[in-house]
């Protein structure tokens, strides 16, 4: 049984088809990269999986159970967490409080939530920022807070939405290390990323979407050399 399975998932907004017939699986323990040009429907796929959107057609199975139609908080409680491309810090709470909010999805006790949050902030190397208001963080730390918060919900599957965008080279390296650490701790990862160097080095498998449809799937090298992928990014002349 795959950890996550999409079967012919389609999402239409009125006449616009944002995602069409999307079918793929993620096995437990994998890192699957999701790439595609701007507007290809990557974030929409995340929104469908995490319950912000309901598919027009198709089925989404998580741990073998149908999850489309569930609300985001229900999906989260089943062990599926996500980060946001446009970061959403709880601005007037401190970093630690932010992470405690998500830890409360696993415990009702304040001390236990605080312990989980300390652990998650240490794991993402944010110890020095714990008492800062989340609204006052620089972008790099906001992106990392997204990861710490998602981790504190103790997910089995983590959806990372462009956690590298806007980071400087040192922060990129740091984030790669953290993502590898998260993966090594037993979390399966689905990651959207535009930075090709990052995605090629992190992912075990790649999936390329364009205009809401899957155009290529396979090992990073296979997908990167697929003429359809090159065409989608650079135009027919280069394919």
């Amino acid at each position: 049984m795959s950890l996550l399975e999409l079967r012919g998932v389609t999402k239409r907004f009125g006449g616009l088809q944002a995602v069409g017939g999307m079918t793929f699986t993620i096995e437990k323990g994998e890192i699957l990269g999701l790439i595609g040009p701007n507007g290809a429907g990557k974030t929409t796929i995340f929104n469908l999986i995490n319950g912000f959107l309901t598919p027009t057609e198709g089925e989404i199975l998580f741990k073998g159970e149908l999850i489309n139609g569930l609300k985001p908080f229900q999906v989260c409680r089943r062990g599926l967490a996500r980060t946001f491309q446009v970061v959403k810090p709880l601005a007037r709470l401190t970093v630690l409080e932010n992470v405690m909010v998500s830890a409360f999805s696993r415990t009702d006790h304040r001390n236990e939530a605080s312990r989980i949050a300390l652990e998650a902030t240490a794991f993402t190397e944010m110890e020095a920022w714990r008492d800062r208001l989340a609204g006052s963080l620089p972008l790099g730390m906001r992106k990392r807070l997204e990861m710490a918060r998602a981790l504190a919900t103790r997910p089995d599957l983590l959806l990372l939405d462009e956690n590298f965008a806007g980071l400087n080279p040192a922060e990129v390296e740091k984030t790669i290390t953290i993502v590898r650490k998260i993966h090594a701790s037993g979390v399966t990862i689905l990651i959207i990323e535009h930075n090709m160097r990052v995605i090629m080095s992190i992912s075990q498998r790649l999936l390329c979407v364009c205009y809401g449809e899957k155009i290529s799937e396979g090992s990073p090298a296979e997908v990167a050399n697929d003429p359809r992928v090159i065409e989608a990014y650079l135009g027919a002349a280069h394919a």
């Binding site: 912000f52 908080f73 409680r77 959403k88 709470l93 909010v101 409360f104 999805s105 008492d131």
Partner: protein, 321 residues
């Protein structure tokens, strides 16, 4: 026990001893009114300040609490028995709130704020027109149970203290964290595992309950209500917002500071301005929202934190808040 809790308990004890030294009934009446507004401000603050669900119609709950007690006496209970209205009024107010919240909290944006405004007006019109039950616009009058102001003072002090400690405990628990998360970003809250509809409803229930209790106390104390008084948009709903915003929304002390200033100001206006007070309070709310959105307590706290921040070493990575 933390320092802030000790300070709170100490002030309650000090306040409880006050009637032993103050016998002036006017002063005691003022103190009762201040504490009533502390209770009201705190109730509004939980929902509007901490949870971010702004209510323009909390008079609905105040009126339900007041009329519960009034109707109990009207239908034959003794005024002493009417004290049970504190509990019943609170519960009925929470019930009314839960129906409204159940409908409105699925939606975001101004739906709740506007629906509750409408609800309080609907209830006012019902109270005016259902004469068999409420005596209509004439209102309900009875002789209160106690002669001594001090008795009322102690009761409202206990109610304000209970609500303070309850809300404080709530805000330090999982509920408090969830309320704040909902205020800051509902999408984020949902994706972090929070059933936002449910937790907004919890916040409303607690808020409505204490507002209903306050309404019931008002009836017990004043011995007279009519629909225009207890379901009043300007005198109840808006003043609850004023008290909270003036003192500092989303702070534990804010509503208390706001209540003291509000009662002092309204007493001053009663003498000097007559009925011009609403105009002044309206302008005051606008000034607060534009220049001091965090209110007195919030602004002072920020100044203080800022001074500590500047005093800290240049690498301000640690311990700012």
């Amino acid at each position: 026990m933390t320092k802030s809790l000790a300070a709170a308990l100490l002030s309650v004890t000090a306040l409880a001893l006050l009637p032993l030294f103050v016998s002036n009934t006017y002063v005691l009446h003022m103190l009762v009114m201040v504490l009533l507004w502390v209770l009201l401000g705190q109730s509004w603050n939980l929902l509007g300040g901490y949870t971010g669900q702004v209510s323009y119609g909390h008079a609905a709950f105040f009126g339900v609490g007041a009329y519960t007690t009034a109707i109990m006496v009207k239908s034959g209970l003794s005024p002493a028995m009417a004290w049970w209205g504190l509990l019943l009024g609170g519960i009925l107010a929470a019930l009314v709130g839960s129906v409204l919240g159940w409908i409105c909290f699925r939606l975001r944006g101004p739906y709740f704020s506007l629906s509750i405004l409408a609800l309080s007006e609907v209830l006012r019109l019902i109270a005016v027109n259902w004469k068999d039950l409420t005596n209509g616009a004439e209102g309900i009058l009875y002789i209160p149970a106690f002669n001594s102001k001090a008795a009322y003072y102690w009761i409202i002090l206990a109610l304000a203290a209970v609500s303070f400690l309850t809300i404080r405990a709530v805000m330090r628990s999982k509920f408090g964290f969830y309320f704040l998360a909902i205020r800051e970003d509902q999408d984020c809250a949902e994706s972090l595992g929070i059933n936002t509809t449910k937790y907004k409803l919890y916040s409303l229930l607690i808020s409505a309950f204490f507002t209903g209790v306050a309404g019931s106390f008002y009836m017990n104390y004043m011995g007279f209500i009519d629909p225009g008084i207890v379901f009043s948009l300007p005198d109840i709903s808006i003043m609850m917002i004023l008290c909270t915003m003036l003192g500092g929304a989303a702070t534990m002390e804010g509503p208390a500071v706001g209540a003291v200033l509000y009662i002092l100001m309204s007493e001053a206006f009663r003498v000097f301005l007559k009925s011009g007070h609403l105009l002044f309070f309206g302008i005051l709310i606008i000034v607060i929202i534009i220049f001091f959105p965090q209110g007195i307590v919030g602004t002072l706290r920020e100044r203080w934190a800022g001074r500590r921040l500047r005093a800290a070493s240049p690498g301000i990575s640690k311990e700012v808040a």
